[in-house]
Amino acid sequence: MQIKGKAWTFGRNVNTDLIFPKIWFRPTYEPGEMASHLMVGIDEEFPRKVARGDIIVGGQNFGCGSSREEAAAAMKEAGVAAVVAPSFGRLFTRNAINVGLPIVTSPRIDEEIAQGDEIEIDLAQGTLRNLRSGYVVRLPPMAPESLKLIEDGGIANYTRRVLEERRRAMA
């Protein structure tokens, strides 16, 4: 899986209350609705600035706090190609994998990427390259199960397939 995009950088301990503030919670969302609130706890203009294919780069413990899936789902919906940080909140990691959003962990990566840098990621090869600075780093291998969930487009597609298999077995 190859990804190339422009970086948007954020700081340390960015919690999911900031990524998707609670005031925008709804029991069901119209297409594009979640994306229209992405990161507004930090930058109200962000939904208008971010473009499809961009990459979000966070500091340590990015996406900590609440379990809200909207934090990852809004990124996926906005077309964010990947999210990169030295470390992530556990629930954010899980939600990213489940919504099919590539999530990349690499030590001190926030120090190697500046706002607007062009970043290239190869998930299968396990490399990240900063095309502006020439910085290249090997990524820790992702669990094959997680990579497969991301490539399948997330847990919804996986669940549909399991349900279909069960229905076929019953028939």
Partner: protein, 419 residues
Amino acid sequence: MHAISKIIARHADRRGVEVGEIVNVVPDYVMLNDRGAARAADLLRKMGGERVFDPERVIVVFDHHYPPIRPQDSISQKKTREWIKEQGIAKFHAGEGIGHVIFPEKGYAFPGALIFGTDSHTVTNSALGCVATGMGHSDVASYLAIGYNWLKVPEVIRFDLYGGFRPGVYAKDIALRIAQLYGEDAAPYLGVEFAGPLVTSMPMSERLVLCNMVIDFGAKTGYIQPDETTARFLAERAPDRRWTAETTDSDRDYGRIVDLNVSEIDPLVAVPHDLSTVRSAADLNDVRIDEAIFGTCTGGRIDDFRVAAALMKGRKLAPHTRMMVNPGSRETFVQAMREGLIDIMVEAGATIGVPGCGPCSGCHQGMLAPAENAITNASRNFRGRFGSPDANAYVASSATVAASAIAGRIVSPAELLAQ
């Protein structure tokens, strides 16, 4: 193997599992709160699932927005009530309190169990020696459809707590000390076990506070080895429940073991806007308090009310300070009334709200205005969590919150105890 690994292995129908491995597990219980139930029901339909796989294992709790705040909450809760009826979900608790407070109360949390919930503070339950963790809505919807979830087996870090408590120091202060020493990502993806002589002597209420806070160190679950205190708690709460505690084989099953001398800890406060910036309460006397927010899944249990009422008895809130109290559960509320604790708090000038999440995460009454300062016994001081993003939230123990509400500024409860 660590006990956490053994619990996961058993729920994966495996003899053993390795740290880092991803396995499919069948949880004992899955908690859906009001928002989680509405979202999961919607996502379940979108995934093509018609029936909940095993409604016996599903527990629905209305705690965040109960009673409904806005018309849209009423509509959503009405739909959820219809949905749980249609799906045959019988375990339903509306207005009985916060899921993480009522789970142990009602015996849904027990040693060796595996519990998932649509809320990050689901980890609270792990104080009973189980594995308990939060999940996203798609995760839970997938569970509802197919009856299992994927789970990565975590490495475990153990904090050995020894020494004694200084006056006015509680489990909450220990949690804040860990955040101060090791950061908000002290335990990313890890299991966090609390052990040592001090944990052995801790009542269940204080153990629940420790395990509640592990999510705010980044952990997947807490863990406390079940002992006599656990067994007594279960015998009282769920006498019919049959359970087996797992045990950890050796010290080699830990990624890290950390000694923590509790005797060195003062009453502590996490200052805005993150949990790892921690100061002594006694050093923050200049901080004016506009509102004290008391309750939540961290500090809304009966022991919190006992501690607060003892400090507030015969005293009044500072004239410029308001106090919002939401009992963690209906049971806590009733018990606090019986013991006269609610009378003491109301006479001091506190406002009592409904059992539930209260103003925490901006759910209910008690929101802050810009530039206002609040002190809370909740777990988080994130920007905007209690209303305005320009307000300031300070996180402390129940005792420090009650003492500061009386003083109208941040004070150490030791100061009030000495008077």
